[in-house]
Symmetry: C2
Subunit: 255 residues, 2 copies
């Protein structure tokens, strides 16, 4: 069972990238579980027809004890399993609290033994890497960490922060920074800027995703590009990202 964490600055394209990656992996035959770890709780939105599934934190608030896997794990596009950790009201307690609650609940209910996914992907807010947001790295939940970034300074700064956090826990856990995923924003010299940062934090750019209108069109239908436009060049970009992440020879060079 491969356990991957996708980090990055809020708004950089983590959920778009992750949900398309999950869809692509599922099309390639993998059983995938995607776990949204962002208080925004919309990571899996386009795998389930454009709605927000109930979060683990919501369920705990509503049902307190009797929570079953059916309350928090939802089947989406092509059988991808969807979970949202959720987050507390702004200002109240640690924003990462939902992630801690979700991990504990999934463990308690033996989710991985029950569903036996081939790949588990955590989509994690990376603006601050502390509290619950550090858990995928710190707790040994993720083995491979990828950071989604553009050439914008603040997303590169966040990438460095995330790399530093992974490094902090090198001795404790087994999470390793496997690479940067360039999600293009159209900044000047974007590729060079991202590659320079990759070098500075001892990693590489493992894939490039162009900015593409198919993303918005698919979103408007509550779908991923992989579902809405299966034959398109953009779908192929996500399929080759799936290859890159599973460390298979990328079938298309998208950089």
């Amino acid at each position: 069972m491969k356990k991957i964490a996708i980090y990055g600055k809020g708004g950089i394209g983590k959920s778009t990238t992750t949900s398309n990656l999950s869809a692509a992996l599922s099309v390639l035959g993998y059983k995938v579980m995607q776990i949204g770890c962002d208080p925004k709780a919309d990571s899996t939105k386009n795998l389930v027809g454009g709605k927000l599934v109930p979060t683990v934190l919501d369920r705990i608030r509503q049902k307190k004890e009797d929570i079953s896997l059916a309350d928090i794990v939802f089947k989406g596009f092509n059988g991808v399993l969807c979970v949202e950790a959720g987050g507390p009201a702004p200002g109240i307690g640690c924003a990462g609290r939902g992630i801690i609650a979700a991990f504990e609940k999934l463990e308690e209910l033996k989710a991985f033994q029950v569903y036996r996914p081939d790949v588990v992907i955590y989509d994690v807010l990376g603006d601050v890497v502390c509290g619950g947001f550090a858990m995928p790295i710190r707790g040994g939940y993720a083995e491979d960490v990828f950071v989604v970034t553009s050439g914008e300074m603040m997303s590169l700064y966040a990438a460095c922060n995330i790399a530093a956090a992974v490094n902090q826990f090198r001795s404790k856990g087994y999470a390793r920074l496997k690479g940067l995923i360039l999600n293009a924003k159209g900044v000047d010299n974007e590729r060079e800027l991202v590659e320079k940062t990759a070098g500075e934090i001892n990693t590489e750019v493992i894939h490039c995703i162009p900015r593409d209108g198919h993303v918005q069109k698919a979103e408007n239908e509550g779908k991923t590009v992989v579902e809405a436009f299966p034959g398109s060049e953009m779908a192929k970009v996500y399929l080759s990202l799936a290859d890159a992440v599973m460390v298979n020879k990328a079938r298309f060079q998208a950089c």
Copy 2:
């Protein structure tokens, strides 16, 4: 003594706006203390010639006990007093920990009684409003909260989060959301988008700041626009922001 908190998504222009606001207020005759509450610790950089002052958290790590005000409060451009809270290493403990430490230390050393500033401005990271980042709102340290935003979706989302957090503590503290400051990024329909969000969270756009190359030019000299280009239109924009924030009739309409 007026106590103001400037919140906003990381990278949106809080520190640029805050340091220019401080410089403008000081030019208008106010005694100003600016307290950087972002682990990046560069809020006051362009008030002190482009360098990073030692943070409160650094000092606590180095000196543990014997910390004096001279260790953490630095005089910058035109007498503006500069403090940086600092932050822990990524992944270790609450990212807002520096803010808590800084507030406690400033209180312990009676900084406000010693310096007697007319205006205290907190420049606070607003991606997550929890732990130390919620302290300016929750602890009663700030009375007026302003949020810097552009028309970009993620900065508007952060603005809504911050408004919700201020609302959480309405009954406890006395922090009130006083308005949004539009720091232009050149998004389509930017003004409309920001005004729409302002309406949704029961506040207004109190000032508009255009995107302007003088910012970068001044930054390259380690200065604010107010210091480097005192006669420029952009300096006037920040002077009128100072009026708007002190609730004086804005001398120039920048929207």
